[in-house]
């Protein structure tokens, strides 16, 4: 059985709930009181992840931390079509991993701004927002040129990959950190497409398509 150490309002946890749902994989959620309880820094949780970060996945005793790493594991393990993470295609794989790293940069900026605005985290909010906008501009431009080539997704033409799943949540939650997406039309069209993926589920702050 799969156990997901989870926090409802975390975009990094949500991307795993979303992907597990898309893949139709059953799992148990173990809620961790990230805020206000700071349970991710508690002794019991540090034994599971010494970095004190969510999410963590436990698959029959195989324990993995890091949302992006967990996406690669789930895709390689459960996606029989090999479309979400095509392990046999060196170029696509390289590109996906490049954008997974980009997703971490979004976490460090747009997600940080959201923690500042909503949950009182102390950090340089102007720097977080400015850097998030720089990343959004890069992605928007990339998606705009991709659309010109009839490529619907970040790395691929027709079928999305885990790079799309990885980048999606903290872009969608950016307004909660005071980062408007109005200036990024290609990003907005891409998020609309993503919400049409079969078995898409929402989280607090991210609505289903058409609502």
């Amino acid at each position: 059985m799969i156990k997901l150490y989870d926090y409802e309002l975390s975009g990094n946890c949500y991307k795993l709930r979303l992907f597990l749902n898309i893949l139709n994989v059953d799992y148990d959620r173990i809620p961790v009181d990230f805020y206000p309880g700071r349970e991710h820094k508690s002794d019991w949780f540090l034994q599971i992840n010494p970095l004190g970060q969510l999410p963590v996945l436990d698959h029959d005793g195989f324990v993995l931390r890091d949302a992006q790493a967990i996406l690669t594991y789930l895709a390689a393990k459960f996606d029989a079509s090999h479309k979400w993470y095509p392990t046999g295609d060196a170029e696509i794989l390289g590109k996906i991993n490049m954008w997974l790293s980009f997703a971490d940069s979004i976490t460090a900026t747009a997600s940080a701004a959201r923690l500042h605005d909503g949950l009182f985290y102390q950090l340089d909010i102007e720097a977080a927002r400015t850097n998030a906008h720089s990343l959004f501009r890069v992605l928007d431009e990339h998606l705009w040129f991709a659309e010109e080539q009839r490529q619907a997704w970040i790395c691929t033409d027709k079928h999305p990959t885990i790079a799309d799943i990885a980048c999606f949540p903290y872009i969608m939650l950016s307004e909660e950190g005071g980062i408007s997406r109005m200036a990024y039309p290609a990003i907005c069209r891409w998020t609309d497409r993503l919400r049409e993926i079969p078995n898409f589920i929402a989280m607090s702050g991210i609505f289903e398509s058409g609502s």
């Binding site: 409802e8 809620p31 206000p36 909503g118 949950l119 009182f120 702050g205």
Partner: protein, 308 residues
Amino acid sequence: MVESSADQLPSQLVNDPAWPGRTVVDDWQVVGSLDQIEVDVNYQTVLLDVPITFNVTESREVRAWVNTRCGSQTSSSASARLKTCVQYGYIWVSLGQPTQNFFEMPEYYEPDRRNIHAATIRVKVSAPRAIENFLDLAHFPFVHPGTLGEEPFTEVKDYDAVILEEGDEVLAQKCLFWQPNAMPTATEGYEVEYVYRVPHPYCAILYKANAIDMNRMDVVAIFVQPVSEEECNANMFLAMIDDQNSDTAIRSFQLMIFAQDKPILENQIPKRLPLNLRAEMSARCDALSTAYRRWLHKRDVRFGTIPQ
């Protein structure tokens, strides 16, 4: 929290007709949960646009003072000390001279209830808008699908909403709504009875039928700190009859619900609540919101509202 300084002490501000906080200056306002406070640490916050600092001593004594231009030096000056109290697990500060008794919430003292502070969340909207949203049944199927509501069960049956002269609060009773997953304890959908109280301009309490013992009601309250006219800190409090779920599970449920409301609240225009009843369309199901607006008008609450 925000660090800044005030030009004037509240005692001077009270006489400033441009300061909308003047009509609620004497009221107790929440500034944090005692659960989340470390002893002897100075916390900076902003209350009614006034930057203040507070701390809690080992003996649970709360001290609070207004920040002034020379930093927090005035802490030693008795004249700058603010009135404070601890009630229902929260720290409350008055910028003036509190005269009224604290509102009653007797359920807090019932021995078999679990009193839980769910979280404090900053919301970029006025405190009255946050309260109004908390009082609204009609949005459940659209904003909280699968938990507090579900299409096509969108009907809000007629209920009673009144302003009580005695006790000076707003009360709504016999509010019935069908909910698929009303509480962490619920296992199936049922028509839930709600009672709402607004005993304070920025605090509201709802009572809803317990999923296990239908004769008793769970308590969910929201105590809102008015930070600026368009920003507030929402403190969510629960007094539950629940021997099944962990505190984490109960908090998680409440946070999920609140975080669904947050983006909608933050996109409301205007961010302050209009007290002119013709400013926004209202339907029969908004009787409670209408009563709340009338009551705020009657009390001349200006901070976070657009007065008539």
